[in-house]
Structure formats: structure tokens, C-alpha cells
Subunit: 203 residues, 2 copies
């Protein structure tokens, strides 16, 4: 009832935040700057979002879903299993986790500065895990579900690790070694129908 929130204003705030996060990072972006860029009052931002944390997540969430969806298409368009795996790992760890536009930095800075009052919903994490498990299942139909889980978990863990390092943006701390390491660790699964390791308690 009464005066409704404007979808335009909401989107303007998200767009402004998105652009500023890319330019300066989440921490260095102020609510005042977001409001100015969005053409509204600083205090009005709080009519649309509960907190800066909220904005950060609202910006990252659709970006991440978009990227993962694109990756699914890309992986789907490759036929050779070895190339598919390479595309998946490379795309996830290089293309998304160490994405140069800085969206991943947003995620890290958002997650690292959660306050108890911020409500973190792991739904995006679960959704992403699901997509990756599915892609891995497609690439390695011979492996067991437990093995799919193992590879999925390891990939997501690496994703988070690379994201954290990305935040440092130091030449000395390159991601390349880590990425090729994960690729190497996963490769053996391509070569067998029933891999040696059935230890997987993951599930």
C-alpha cells in the first residue's frame, strides 16, 4: 500500500554499485558514492537495501549466475572429454574466480566483512555447487556420484581460494600454478571408468 518502491530506483542503485565496485572495489566504495551515481539520496538507499552487505550480495548474485550459465553453455559446446574438463576448470578458476573486473573481489570483501546482523543465505553457493556437479557428471559419466561430489567440492574450494588471493592483486601471488595444479589432479579421472579412489566420504 501507499507509495510503492520504484523498480527504476532499485535498478539504478544496483547499476551504480556494480560499476563502482568494479572500479574501486567493494570496501572502497561508499554508500554516498553509490547514491550520487544512482541519482538519489544517500539515506534513500536504505529504503531499498538493508545494508551495504545486502547491496554487495545483490550485485554479485546475478553476475555469478550469469557467468556460471555462460560456462555451462561453453562446456556444453565442446565434445572431447579432455577439452571439456579443461574448459570447465579453466573457465571456473581463471574466467570467474580470478575475473579481472573485480566482481570476485566483491564477493571476498563481502564475505570477509559479514557482521552477525547480516543475513547470509547460502543459496547461491548451493546453486553453484549443483551446476558444477552436473557439468562434472556430464564430463565423467563413468565416475560414481561420490566421485562427482569429490571433484565438485575440490573445485569449489579452489574457487574460494583463488578468489581470496585475487583480492591481493599481487604479481608474486599468481593463480596459474594453483589452477594448473587442480587440472592435473583431476585429469586422472578422465582416463578410467572406475578410478582407484573410492574413499570418497563426500556426499
Amino acid at each position: 500500500m501507499a507509495r510503492p518502491k520504484s523498480e527504476q530506483v532499485r535498478q539504478a542503485i544496483l547499476d551504480a554499485a556494480h560499476q563502482l565496485f568494479m572500479e574501486k572495489g567493494y570496501t572502497a566504495t561508499t554508500i554516498g558514492a553509490i547514491a550520487r551515481q544512482a541519482g538519489t539520496a544517500q539515506s534513500n538507499v536504505y529504503v531499498y537495501f538493508q545494508s551495504k552487505f545486502d547491496i554487495g550480495f545483490a550485485v554479485f548474485d546475478p553476475w555469478m549466475r550469469q557467468k556460471v550459465t555462460e560456462l555451462e553453455e561453453k562446456v556444453g559446446s565442446v565434445s572431447d572429454p579432455q577439452d571439456r574438463l579443461h574448459t570447465l576448470v579453466e573457465g571456473l578458476l581463471h574466467g570467474i574466480a580470478s575475473d579481472p573486473s573485480g566482481q570476485t573481489m566483491t564477493l571476498v570483501q563481502v564475505l570477509a566483512t559479514v557482521k552477525p546482523s547480516d543475513e547470509y543465505d547460502p543459496e547461491l553457493l548451493m546453486w553453484t555447487l549443483e551446476r558444477i556437479r552436473e557439468m562434472i557428471g556430464d564430463i565423467l559419466p563413468g565416475a560414481s556420484p561420490a566421485e562427482h561430489d569429490v571433484l565438485t567440492q575440490a573445485l569449489m574450494l579452489s574457487f574460494d581460494g583463488i578468489a581470496l588471493r585475487q583480492n591481493l592483486r599481487r604479481e608474486e601471488v599468481s593463480d596459474d600454478h594453483g589452477i594448473s595444479a587442480m587440472l592435473t589432479l583431476m585429469k586422472p579421472y578422465l582416463d578410467r571408468e572406475k578410478p582407484a579412489a573410492k574413499v570418497a566420504e563426500a556426499g
Copy 2:
């Protein structure tokens, strides 16, 4: 020359910071609180440390070295290679990365809030990498140096990933799957002298 800095004061600040970081986390701990707890003036803290970042790192660094050293001893005391690998991965990822005292949260929050003016020195990271590579070399003498690198990089990446998630402290986001996944991925290296994967570009 002139009045020298007091090692006592410096240590008091570090101790106070250490305790408060464990209790409330890095972000939620204020310089004022550290000073009060250390029995000195807030401004005097800046005589001993350049910034809050500096303090965070000065607290984390010796803790991490201690933990890694303990892990080396623990791994060294185990004889069976399979148990050694298990001890290493479990100790690194469970014992250190998801350490409940909150030191890892300190690391994550410190790294995630670096400002350009903060001088991050990757020396601790390099030192840790070196120790882990050495342990892996001991456990898998049959593997090539390139393979040692691969496993080291993958382990450190997982370490960072688990540390980031640890910061969320949510039941839904457990580390166990990720840890056992890494263990599973590494196990095959125990069973062969010359593993299939020689793809390792890492080095």
C-alpha cells in the same frame, strides 16, 4: 638513540590484539580496545605498528609458523605413508585452516581488507609453501618435483578456500566435504612411483 621502544609494550599490544581477535574477530576489534587491554594510549599503538593491518599480520604470522612447525613434527612422527598424507592434509585443512580459535578468520579479514597503502609481504606464504612442499617430498619420494609442486599448490589453494569459508561460521557450509575431497584427489599419488599425470606446468 633517545628513548627506545619498549619490547614489553610491543608484546602487550600483540597479546591484547591476539586475545581480542580470538574473542571478537579482527574486524570487530578496535584499536582503542587493543590499547585499553594493553594498558597504553590508543595513539601509542601507532608508535609500534604502522596500521591495524600491520597488527593483524604480526599476530597471525608467528601463530601460523608455530602451527606449521607443529604439523611438521606430527607428520614426521608417523611412519606409514598413507597415514602421513592423511595427517598432513587433515592437519593443514582441519587443524589449521578451520582452526576454531579464529586465527584463520584474522588472516581472511586482514587479507580481504588490505588497502593499497598496506604493504603485504608474501614471505609467510612462501615460507609455508616451502614447508609443505618439503613434507610432500618426504611422503612421496617417488613423485617428481613437478608433481610435488602440483600437490603443494592444490593444498595451499584449498587452505585459502577453507579459511574463507571458515569466516562465515555457518553450519550449512561445512568444510568436511572439501577436506575429504582433497584427500581423495591426492591419494592416487601414494600408489604409484610414476603417476600418470606428468602434465604439471607448475614450478
